[in-house]
Amino acid sequence: MKYEPPLEKISVNIRETVLGQGEKSVKIGGENTLPFHSFEGSLPNSAGLALEVLDTQPENWAPSVLEPFEDVVSDPVKWAKKCVEVYGAEMLCLRLLSTDPMGKDRSPEEAAEITKKVTDAVDVPFIVWGTDMEDKDAQVLMQVARVCSGKNLLLGPVVKGNYEKIAKAALEHGHAVVAQASMDANLTKELNIALCKFFPPEKIVVDPTASALGYGLEYTFSIIEEIKQFGLVDKDKMMQMPILCDFGGDCWRTKEAKESREQGILWEAISGITFLLAGANLLVFRHPESLKLIKEMVI
């Protein structure tokens, strides 16, 4: 019996999404093959790797993940600069934690002001993230869209209950959105269909929700892997958006990550490589060292 490499060609592509503007803009997606399968298809863009920046002092962070940012956590502008200038981040994820109505409840106007300042300070693309409170996120992200008009931010999470408002503002002001439908391929597809009625599909990134190693990864890995295959193998156009996985925060909350620096970095990096294997196109990290490791491994 003679061996012939059993290659499988796929005739469709994941959509390519451009984030940010100018020289530092980042392209994600665009592949016509399964993750890492460059031996049988094309993967034009490597995954986007973003570092987190909070708009407010972090609480209860383990010392080993606080340490890289210790001198800048009180100022999101300095924090963002350090991520880019010292840790070489090519993308950032600004979390507007202070807008949480059950917490500081900062106003949309204030949040948009902060976002403007931070995104003006560095020229890399930004994900701007709310607090998972549907109504408040809608008000905040609409305001951010207006104030940061033309910056091509990636705004999220956009969910079934608030997609119309946020996506309309994003469309008007030239931003992309993260469509979040938790842990269910059908819901992901439904939300994409609803969005695509008025929003350009190439400006949608999906978030099936991610989680940490040992704390739900056994589910999230397989659901994300399945969603990628619906898009590539079953050629479902509404499943061909790039995938975002936001898991760094979940990782560093675990008991195991807090136990030691090395273990924490691996907790995050193993989760990251697992999501890349599932098909993620954009990852959000908390520790610069985990990001660096992944970056060096996948090129």
């Binding site: 990864l217 056994e218 397989s222 295959q229």
Partner: protein, 449 residues
């Protein structure tokens, strides 16, 4: 099983003599196709036909066992490319590399650490499976001493790594009853290895510079009657590993290509100097089909993440792990003991019960049946809302168990507070910490009946 009932039927005697215990040959064929019957039961099969059938019905990836007794590792017989299609069956083995070049005291330390390694998760032991003993010293005596030491002082399954075929088999003969994996068997030493492999009955780690190069060796071994093999396509880094492992599994599963129908072994320890990278490569190659991964070290902070990862990837995605619904009594609680509530997702139960034990404060832990969903997924789907929890309290008569009226709920379930205040009148609802692991601190600082 590659064959369908109708295809098997064509090869049976078709006399319907019933001696197999089935009313017709057809019924027997259908049963065979689903793995419910045994070819031996038909006494009228032509031996040649039987051999043909056996070969055609064999699983596309052979099950291979390394080691003996309790610590034997069985890998192979996987049925899918992707976990969501069904499940992965046989966990990748984790091997720790020990070189005969390391000093005796280093070896001693390493062995001690490996033996002391003891982690549990969700009631299951997480463990290292094998020691990979590597000949690097050039001194046969040293290598044999290492093999003897590992064989005599531990129960681990063994991998023997040695380019010198004579030394390799002489070491293998020292521990043959432990069924060590002998590695590498290559195109250059196959003919010398065949009689030894047969004599000792040990599995062969076949190495090729490429997938193609592997096939000639495996075919030669198979023709000589040797079928216990592991494949190493010689991948030099993680990306090559993903490619090679994927193509091997695809060839076996989707093309039925027999020369590659064996489990595999991968060597992250030789791919990367950096231990973080080595660990990451091992994690990736566990997802991408490696039957065994060999690591250079055994430090807990590198191994624990990898073991938990393996536990995740090899859990069955079709069946959430659950525990029984019950008002668990942890450490003899009384009428002044705290009452906490969580879900019957096995992970939640194990995290929270361990935390209460660690706090050393006896407590009632209410475990509500949520069909294995964790706190927020269960809340969203109505299995862990105010109403469901009130029912639980009624059913298990929680009000009779304690004098106080305080219920501690998971910190993530903020949205539950108002619901519970309505459904459990008279009870004070206390929002506990976000993390189960912070319960000990919370209880010792905050709990008063």
């Amino acid at each position: 099983m590659a064959l369908k009932g109708a295809e098997i039927m064509k090869m049976l005697p078709k006399t319907n003599c019933k001696e197999c215990g089935y009313p017709t040959c057809f019924a027997f064929a259908m049963k065979l196709a689903t793995g419910g019957a045994n070819l031996e039961d038909c006494p009228h099969l032509d031996p040649q036909v039987r051999a043909q059938l056996e070969a055609a019905m064999a699983p596309p990836i052979k099950l291979v066992t390394i080691g003996a007794g309790e610590n034997a590792l069985a890998i192979g017989e996987e049925e899918v490319m992707f976990r969501h299609e069904k499940t992965f069956f046989h966990e990748s083995g984790i091997a720790i590399l020990i070189s005969d070049k390391e000093s005796e005291s280093d070896i001693e330390k390493k062995l001690k650490r490996i033996k002391a390694f003891d982690f549990e998760r969700i009631g299951q032991k997480l463990k290292i499976d094998l020691l990979a003993l590597c000949f690097e010293s050039g001194d046969k005596g040293k290598f044999e001493a290492l093999v003897k030491k590992a064989y005599e002082t531990t129960n681990f399954a063994l991998i023997l790594i040695c380019e010198d075929t004579d030394v390799l088999f002489s070491a293998a003969s020292l521990c043959a009853d432990r069924k060590p994996l002998v590695y590498p068997i290559t195109k250059d030493n196959t003919s010398a290895a065949i009689p030894k492999l047969k004599e000792l009955g040990v599995p062969a780690g076949v190495k090729g510079q490429s997938i193609e190069a592997l096939t000639s060796v495996t075919s030669e071994l198979k023709d000589a009657g040797i079928e216990d093999m592991l494949l190493d396509p010689g991948s030099k880094n993680m990306l090559e590993g993903i490619r090679d492992q994927t193509l091997i599994r695809r060839a076996a599963l989707k093309k039925g290509f027999r020369p590659l129908g064996y489990p595999t072994i991968a060597f992250p320890c030789f791919m990367y100097q950096d231990r973080f990278k080595e660990t990451l490569a091992a994690a990736a190659l566990m997802i991408k089909y490696a039957g065994i991964v060999v690591l250079s070290q055994a430090e807990a902070q590198f191994l624990l993440p990898l073991l938990v990862h393996r536990f995740n990837i090899y859990s069955d995605p079709r069946r959430p792990m659950t525990v029984e619904e019950k008002a668990y009594e942890i450490g003899n609680p009384g009428e002044n003991s705290p009452v906490l509530i969580s879900t019957n997702y096995a992970l939640d139960y194990f995290i929270v019960s361990a935390a209460i034990e660690e706090a050393n404060i006896p407590a009632y832990l209410c475990i509500k049946d949520t069909e294995g969903l964790g706190v927020m997924a269960a809340w969203t789907s109505g299995k862990f809302n105010g109403e469901a929890i009130a029912e639980f309290f009624e059913k298990y008569a929680m009000a009779d168990k304690v004098k106080h009226r305080k219920l501690i709920i998971p910190g993530v379930a903020k949205k539950l507070v108002a619901e519970l205040e309505e459904e459990l009148p008279g009870w004070e609802i206390i929002l506990g910490p976000l993390e189960g692991s912070d319960i000990p601190k919370f209880l010792s600082e905050e709990w008063k009946a």
